[in-house]
């Protein structure tokens, strides 16, 4: 059984038919990427998974359990954790407070402490700046913080929305190295990216989304070599 499975999902914004029957699976331990142009439905898919939007048709299942019935905060408690688009860290709280907020649903103080150290070992910059207010961090550090905050919830699957957005190339590389690193430690990741080249490079499998429908799916290497994909997303 797949860890996460979407089956024929139709989502709407009012009358606008945003997702027109999306089906996809993410297996335990995989990095799966969802690529596509602006307005293709990538973020809508993530919102549907995390319960912010309820699909009118279709099902979202986590290890067979239907998530559609759950509200957004309950989906979080199931272990489906987002790194939101644009990072959305708590700018007025300190780095440490941000990370602790990520562990809001957990009670195991000792384990939280361990995870905090783990996050600090992944992102040493955050440890240096742990008492600094989030808003004072650079964009790259904010992305690290947003990722770290999500990790503090001990995700079963991590949903990352455009982690490369607005970052300098050197920082993008750093973030993607971390994504690979996390995956090697066993983390399952669903990665939404506009930067298809990078995404397909780290991912095991990929889906190409166009106007609310999946037009291509398959192994990441094959997709990267696909002439259609190349033309549309990889600059020829």
């Amino acid at each position: 059984m797949a860890l996460l499975e979407l089956e024929n999902v139709h989502s709407y914004y009012g009358n606008i038919h945003a997702l027109k029957g999306i089906s996809l699976t993410v297996e335990q331990g995989e990095i799966v990427t969802l690529i596509g142009a602006n307005g293709a439905g990538k973020s809508t898919t993530l919102k549907t998974i995390s319960g912010i939007i309820d699909p009118r048709k279709g099902s979202v299942r986590l290890e067979g359990e239907d998530l559609v019935a759950y509200r957004a905060h309950e989906v979080v408690s199931k272990g489906v954790i987002q790194v939101p688009e644009g990072r959305r860290i708590f700018t007025r709280l300190t780095v440490r407070e941000n990370l602790e907020m990520g562990a809001f649903l957990r009670n195991d103080t000792q384990e939280i402490k361990k995870d905090l150290e783990w996050v600090f070992s992944l992102f040493p910059r955050l440890e240096e700046r742990q008492n600094q207010v989030g808003g004072t961090l650079s964009g790259g550090e904010q992305q690290m913080l947003a990722t770290g905050r999500a990790l503090m919830a001990r995700p079963r699957i991590l949903l990352m929305d455009e982690p490369s957005m607005g970052l300098a190339p050197v920082l993008v590389d750093l973030i993607f190295d971390t994504i690979k690193d996390l995956n090697e430690q066993g983390m399952t990741i669903l990665l939404v990216e506009q930067n298809a080249l990078l995404a397909l490079d780290v991912a095991d499998r990929g889906y190409v989304l166009e106007t609310g429908m999946i037009t291509l799916a398959g192994d990441a290497k094959e997709l990267a070599a696909n002439p259609q994909v190349k033309e549309a997303y990889l600059g020829g």
Binding site: T44, H73, Q132, A168
Partner: protein, 571 residues
């Protein structure tokens, strides 16, 4: 002329005009005249005159801040120009007011005001000269104070403030301690019939200077980490000791103060309870509630209906029995208001809550409920609480109720803030969407904030009802909500000690100074504007808000644009 090329001359004149507008304003709204009856220094200086003196002083002071330390002389010169302009504007008012009748437009431009502006001079020409030159001299004084070394500056300011405060306090002290034997010699020594005696001026000034110097000294001394070296057990004893001491002090305070100051403290206390409650809603959870008075009204009316022995008598319960119902009904009202506004944010939420507050007031006034809650006539004969033979009858006894109320409410607020729900509120205040993504149940978190805040207001209303002994709908208008919101802003949003300070400033001071009552709203407005400009985080800021509103430290702007993530980014 080289000076004319300096932009600072323009600044100096600009400042002078601002000062002039300020003196014109305080004169023409009638404050100068209203405050002229109160003498600060006997036969010499009234509060009204002080009001006229302050703008040129402040203008001179500000003028001097704009010059650097090397140019003291030019700083003083700039100051004098500003003051000259301010004085000239005031003189223009005097000349104009003496020549023609301004009262058609400015009702307060009365002969009495002109009389005050003459400053005892016989001829108009001399008086004009006095105003202009006086303005300049005061500004020079302001500039000199600004340019003197910090230690001396704060000493002078502290001394002057002490004189002004003691001058204003004369009447209050007399009302409070007039009958006591020990107070009479002090009064004789410090005060004449009206205002401080010269001896009193000197003594209070020196006292102010001494306080300032002492504070400067203790601030410069390196702090020892006393607390850490103390053993835990000893700390505990100290805690208990100070608690007991505080309790004893509170117990004897009203007896010591007498009825009038106790009454003022009670009014302040009722606002403190409301302030702590609204602080949870606005300060902790970031939900702007402009209809907070509704819950205060509900608490008061529930107590009124359940306890009154007047014409609307129903069950005639004791206050103690009615109290939990008042709190509970308010709490439910908080939830009821909370449910429809769950999806709303910011401005929309503020408007809806504003409407809710008005609805409650209009319903209280309506004929529909008149048979039960008395409409405009209100509910009379709300009994006083009683424990055994002890009746909480006078302000001195009601004070205990208020003090216990504040204690309970502050304790609950502190505990909630540090609890899990406090963290949820914090996340909610910072970013609602992300809070949800952290697994926080927004519905429960919001409703709990509304409910807690409302319950506190209900408690406050219950005490208010028995304190007044009767309830009228006009006690529950929008101004109450505005007052509570203002006092938490002035004190520092999110900070509980800030609520105390804010309540004393905004509720206590106007009660103490009767002359201020007419200008209360004016003062509020002025104070809020000044606070937002000078100290936006409030007098006793809470940590997070301070971080937001003050220097952000080493912000790294080099890498990229700020993240902006609209709610719906793509379709």
């Amino acid at each position: 002329m080289t000076q004319e090329k300096k932009p600072t001359w323009k600044d100096a004149i600009q400042l002078g005009v601002i000062g002039g507008v300020l003196v014109l304003f305080v004169s023409l709204v009638g404050m100068v005249q209203a405050f002229d009856g109160r003498y600060i220094i006997s036969e010499t200086l009234t509060l009204g005159q002080l009001l006229l003196f302050l703008p040129p002083l402040i203008v001179g002071y500000i003028s001097a801040t704009r010059t650097d330390a090397q140019h003291r002389v030019s700083g003083i010169l700039f100051g004098s120009v500003s003051g000259l302009v301010t004085g000239a504007i005031l003189a223009a008012l005097l000349l104009l007011g003496s020549a023609i009748n301004l009262r058609a437009m400015f009702i307060n431009a009365s002969p009495e005001l002109m009389d005050i502006l003459m400053f005892g001079q016989e001829t108009l020409a001399v008086a004009t000269a006095v105003l202009v030159i006086g303005g300049a001299l005061l500004s020079v004084l302001g500039a000199v104070i600004r340019l003197s070394p910090p230690l001396i500056r704060s000493a002078i300011l502290s001394g002057v403030s002490a004189v002004i405060i003691m001058g204003i306090m004369q009447e209050l002290l007399k009302i409070t301690f007039g009958g006591r034997d020990w107070y009479m010699p002090i009064d004789d020594f410090l005060y004449e019939q009206k205002g401080l005696s010269w001896m009193g001026v000197v003594v209070t000034f020196l006292l102010g200077v001494a306080i300032s110097l002492w504070r400067a000294r203790s601030a410069s001394r390196p702090k020892k980490t006393v607390v850490k070296t103390r053993s835990r057990e000893r700390q505990r004893y100290v805690q208990i000791g100070s608690f007991v001491l505080g309790a004893i002090l509170l117990l004897i305070l009203p007896q010591f103060l007498g009825p009038y100051p106790s009454e003022i403290l009670n009014t302040v206390g009722i606002y403190v309870i409301m302030g702590i409650g609204l602080n949870i809603v606005v300060g902790y959870a970031g939900l702007l509630d402009l209809g907070y008075v509704a819950f205060f009204a509900i608490g008061a009316y529930v107590v009124g209906v359940l306890t009154t022995t007047g014409s609307l008598a129903t069950v005639m319960w004791s206050w103690w029995l009615a109290l939990p119902f008042a709190v509970l009904v308010s709490l439910l009202a908080g939830v009821i208001l909370g449910i429809p506004v769950l999806k709303m944010r910011g401005d929309y939420l503020a408007i809806v809550t504003l409407g809710f507050g008005e609805i409650i007031r209009v319903v209280a006034l309506s004929n529909w409920l008149k048979p039960y809650i008395g409409g405009a006539q209100g509910i009379l004969q709300v009994p006083k609480p009683q424990i055994g033979d002890f009746v909480f009858k006078d302000p001195e006894q009601i004070f205990y109720l208020v003090a216990i109320g504040i204690g309970i409410v502050a304790f609950v607020a502190f505990r909630l803030r540090d609890a899990r729900v406090g963290r949820a509120w914090k996340a909610l205040r910072e970013d609602e969407d992300v809070a949800e993504a952290m697994g926080i149940n927004l519905v429960n978190t919001k409703l709990l904030a509304f409910a807690t805040g409302a319950a506190f207001a209900g408690l406050s209303g219950a005490i208010f009802a028995t304190k007044l002994g009767s309830i009228f709908p006009h006690s529950f208008n929008l101004i109450v909500s505005i007052n509570v919101l203002s006092l938490i802003i002035v004190g520092g949003i999110g900070s509980i000690p800030g609520v105390l300070v804010g309540a004393f400033m905004l509720v206590g001071l106007p009660e103490l100074l009767r002359e201020f009552a007419d200008y209360r709203m004016l003062m509020y407005g002025a104070l809020l504007v000044v606070m937002m400009l000078v100290k936006p985080e409030g007098f006793i800021p809470e940590k997070t808000h301070k971080a937001e509103l003050t220097d952000r430290g080493d912000v790294d702007f080099d890498s990229e644009i700020e993240p902006i993530a609209p709610a719906i980014t793509e379709i």
